[in-house]
């Protein structure tokens, strides 16, 4: 075995070193060369330079990206990325058309596909149930489920005893042996109302008194043409609707929505769970853009700002809805623009006002507080509530996380002053999806002073003035540029580079594109010592794997599950800090297991709704007439596709040796011929595909693919 491996390594080296990819040797090799030559740091050149740019400014190269950028010239490629309006996004737009509701205004979205809070309002008569038959069905189905859940809580005791005496149930992940296939919605975080949805749903489902659904009833529905099928589903009321959905086997599940247009699919999803449908589309849309947009730098930056201005999806039941607008209207338009515009947009977003509680902040001497105190006299003791007051949450994070950064010289007194300035910045009727408003009655009167700067009493304008002050502080320039450098350059970026970027920030009035251009033009960015040196975060790993595979994604939930298992759920970071950009957070024992399993499952086409194809049709056709392609040839072809910078010899030989070992074992059972020779014999197309899948899975799971 060892000698075979050594032989292969030698053979591969001699054969691959003359390919055009020889210039793009692995980082280790490049660094070794640099060290030998006695340079402290050398500059990347040739294809390595292009790959470095693709790895840092995109979610990973797709097959063909290297060649395209080479043909265009790297300067021009980067310029296009900085000005994405000129890029052709036809393919992206076609995919985005799957999710029409994601284009709606938030009040419309929350009215048509209601949150559970909206449903409870409808139950209490505080919101109307729509007259439209489709919407009515969506509301009534959900009302039924909430009632059933409440009833089940009341009889929880009896239920529980029955549950606990039963045999252990196998979870999805156990059944498939794949941790990425675990169910989506088992967040361990505080739910808005009742946490532990898994258990409660199970109870609700169990308790239903639905009539049994017979097979012909279901097949009748499935054979209806799309329009009538939707009409039929709208007409079926609870508890029968859920019984039908539950009785569907996976192929029937697909048949249920087959041929439906995107709007019809959304209706069917909403009949089942409107808030869940919106949440899934929100997450899917984010992943879709990261994977398929040609404006990759725009998406990398949108991802960066969504993390910088982090918001947690389950802060309350409105948040999935507000995040639709937060991504679309607040972050995306300013991702490559001026930081101050972005900061302004975030400060005026209902999502941020709710997430960091500014929406409930009330000046203690404001009109609203006076009214409350007056009213409180008339209440009985047990109805008395806390008097409303200032909530410092947003004020603090605005400085600590969004702008100047901690240790930049502000004090707790400044935090309180900032919070006083921002009193009244709130949200109009959040349960109905209302927008940002400034409520003067909540605004704290009087002059304020932040970091030595006076703010005269001036209502909402005080806050505007404050945001301008913060956006233009040198500390902000350094804080933002340092974070950008960690994202794009290395865990410990050179101070000279950060300083140069910060100067560009201040000189350009906080223009992010100008800062990125400065980064691109800096020799530090192109240092060989940083080539392939950043550990991919889970989103970078998953998106780059899908992109390199040229996979066709119809269902994004398996990717969302993989990200959850890897510890980076989309919009799932609870604290306002956001996820870390440096490697220490992402390299641990459990994480590597999850990455390897994801690689193998993706490559083998085992993630439902995600198609991959590793074997060109011509190769399959040739199997009928000639010998099967040599394994090393297959490996080289897949390596060019997945690791255009080249794999290390150890990765290559490990991938091939397993390939050989597998064949040796398989062939031993049939006829005792040499493992290598066997490939001159015939191979079934399925066998070739399976071997390619295994090779691809190993390359995606390799150490090289963990870095960018």
């Amino acid at each position: 075995m060892e000698s075979l491996r050594a032989f292969l390594a030698l053979w591969l080296c001699s054969s691959l070193c003359v390919t055009p990819f020889a210039s793009a040797q692995s980082a280790a090799a490049a660094r070794a060369t640099a060290a030998k030559a006695g340079y402290r740091s050398t500059q990347l050149h040739g294809d390595a330079r292009i790959l470095h740019a693709l790895n840092r400014f995109t979610f990973g190269p797709r097959p063909g990206d290297l060649e395209a950028a080479r043909a265009m010239g790297l300067e021009k490629w980067f310029d296009q990325q900085l000005h994405p309006a000129s890029l052709d996004e036809t393919a992206l737009d076609a995919r985005l058309a799957q999710f029409p509701a994601m284009q709606w205004g938030i009040p419309t979205l929350i009215y048509r596909y209601p949150s559970n809070a909206m449903i409870r309002m409808a139950m209490n008569g505080r919101a109307p149930i729509p007259q439209n038959s489709v919407l009515q069905a969506i509301y009534e189905n959900q009302i039924y489920r909430i009632r059933a859940r409440q009833q089940n809580r009341a009889i929880g005791q009896r239920k529980f005893q029955r549950l606990s005496s039963g045999a252990p149930v196998m979870t999805n992940s156990e059944a498939s042996g794949l941790s990425v296939a675990a169910p989506m919605d088992q967040s361990t975080s505080p739910g808005a109302d009742m946490a532990d949805p898994g258990q409660m749903d199970m109870m609700a489902g169990d308790e239903e008194q639905a009539e049994p659904v017979d097979a012909s009833f279901i097949s009748d529905i499935l054979t209806l043409p799309p329009q009538q099928r939707v009409a039929r589903l709208v007409a079926i009321r609870e508890p029968q609707f859920d019984a039908v959905i539950k009785a569907l086997r996976p192929p029937q599940r697909a048949a249920l929505v087959a041929g439906l247009n995107p709007g019809q699919k959304e209706i069917v999803g909403a009949l089942e769970n409107p808030e869940g449908m919106v949440t899934q589309e929100l997450i899917s849309e984010r992943l879709l853009r990261d994977i398929y947009s040609n404006a990759q730098l725009q998406q990398v930056m949108a991802d960066f700002w969504l993390n910088h201005f982090n918001i947690y999806l389950h802060k309350d039941e409105q948040m999935p809805y507000y995040l639709v607008s937060y991504e679309r209207d607040t972050i995306e338009p300013y991702a490559l623009g001026k930081f101050e515009d972005l900061l302004e947009a975030v400060a005026h977003s209902p999502a941020m006002m709710l997430y960091l509680d500014n929406a409930s902040s009330v000046g203690p001497d404001s009109l609203a507080a006076e009214r409350f105190k007056h009213a409180a006299w008339r209440r009985r003791a047990h109805q008395r509530q806390d008097p409303p007051g200032i909530n410092e949450n947003y004020g603090r994070e605005l400085m600590e996380l969004h702008t100047v950064g901690v240790n930049s010289g502000y004090t707790q007194a400044d935090v309180i002053q900032v919070a006083r300035i921002l009193t009244g910045w709130t949200v109009d009727r959040p349960q109905l999806g209302g927008g940002f408003i400034f409520n003067p009655a909540r605004h704290e009167p009087g002059t304020k002073k932040v970091m030595g700067v006076k703010f005269k009493q001036n209502g909402e304008m005080e806050g505007e003035q404050l945001l301008h002050l913060l956006a233009t502080r040198p500390a902000t320039a350094h804080f933002i540029c340092s974070e950008l450098a960690v994202r794009f350059v290395s865990d410990n970026p050179p101070q000279a580079l950060v300083d140069r970027m910060a100067r560009a920030y201040l000189a350009s009035g906080g223009n992010i594109s100008a800062v990125l251009k400065t980064l691109f033009d800096s020799p530090e960015f192109w240092s060989t010592s940083d080539y392939q040196n950043k550990v991919k975060t889970p989103i970078e790993y998953v998106a780059s794997a899908v992109r390199a595979s040229n996979a066709d994604v119809e269902d994004y939930m398996p990717l969302a599950n993989a990200l959850r298992v890897m510890g980076m759920p989309v919009y799932g970071c609870i604290p306002p800090n956001g996820y870390d950009w440096d490697s220490s957070a992402w390299v641990n024992t459990g994480a590597l297991v999850d990455r390897m399993n994801f690689a193998v499952a993706l490559a083998a086409g085992r993630l439902p709704g995600i198609k991959v194809n590793w074997t060109p049709e011509t190769e399959v056709a040739n199997l009928a007439s000639g010998p099967a392609p040599d394994p090393a040839t297959e490996e080289a072809r897949l390596e060019r596709m997945l690791l255009p910078g080249g794999a290390s010899i150890s990765t290559r030989s490990a991938a091939l040796s397993q390939f050989e070992a597998q064949n040796a074992r398989e062939s031993a059972a049939v006829r005792p011929i040499s493992a290598v020779r066997r490939f001159n014999g015939r191979l079934a197309p399925r066998q070739l595909e399976r071997q390619d899948q295994l090779l691809a899975g190993l390359l995606i799971g390799s150490p090289e693919f963990q870095r960018r």
């Binding site: 005791q157 739910g191 109302d193 390299v587 459990g590 490990a654 397993q658 074992r665 899975g697």
Partner: protein
Amino acid sequence: MQLTRRFLLHKGALAIAGTAAIPTFLVRSVLAESAASPDRRLVVIFQRGAADGLNIVVPYREKNYYAMRPSIAIPQNRVLDLDGFFGLNPSLSSFKPLYQQGQLAIVHAVGSPNMSRSHFDAQDYMESGTPGVKSTQDGWLNRALQAEDACEACSGARNRQMYTAFRALALGPQIPLTLAGRVPAIAIGNVNAFTVAGRGATLSPAARAFEAMYADSGDRIFHAAGDETFDAVKMLRAADPGKYQPAPGANYPNTEFGNSMRQIAQLLKANLGVQVAFTDVTGWDTHQNQGGVDGQLSGRLRDFSQSIAAFWRDLGDSAENVTLVTMSEFGRTARENGTGGTDHGHANAMFVLGGNVKGGKVYGRWPGLDNDQLNQGRDLALTTDYRQVLGELVTQTLGASNLNLVFPGAELAPNRFLQIV
């Protein structure tokens, strides 16, 4: 991740424990011999969502308790009396024998001194162990292990050679803040799924290829991570935790929490070197219809207590070296609200269970429930900082003597410990 001396030493230990050919009893004796003191283990359970301590450990002699909770109070004749003043919620009946046998202690009016009523802030503060300080990046339990490592004088120093990849274990998809930090921790969502590319009796060809690939890699960080990963995977396979089925009478509820506790017991029994374990249980945020003797909260409590009691029974003799502690980010309002539930409050109750615990007692100073005794006129007031309890536990079970490292700024003094252990 670094290639430290500890890492290499731990590789040495694994070479023994990871070899399936060596009988388990031999591995066990090797592990046992090297330990200077009995292997103490700490299991930490977080009740996310703010559990209603006043309906869990009920102050049933407080008149105002019944006045403030007309529809959800636990009647005096239904509580499981503990000491003539407090009584357990009847859904915690499986805790009663543990209390009577002196293994279960309760601390009441305890919690985080920070006044935040935000779930995520309060959870963060409680997990980081630095209430009010947001910038803390690591958790108290990880720092407790760091403190143990730093303590050359204590028994931990010799134990260090035996640390495995399972030393700090989280049952769940990711490492919680409580366990985050410099000491490597491992998160396992599902013991059966913790394997690479398939679950056969031996490593699959793909898994072996990955192992060789990472072992030969020149990438220092991933080389080390790969080694640790395959060590853990193989160690788990060799230990075959599947053969440690629940002991007779250990009836785990078939719930997420029950499954987590069952798996922690499996991993503890399989002798994988687990020193601290963490898991959480959700469903405590009972703003509406929380119920009294029956209902929502009572269902959660039954799951909670039956899972823990089953865990205890499951561990059998080895339970004597295990200490278990529970916490929740804050308590709930003393008064019920207009929708049959309770809102975000302040102080709460903690359970401490262990072979060395001086149980059968409710610890902590009781602040009373009269209107003028309430925190901000609405919650159970706090008389014990939760770090006093945890500080005592980490000193006694992990040998972490530097409490300033574990709970910076808390200024814990051993002479103020409640003497629970």
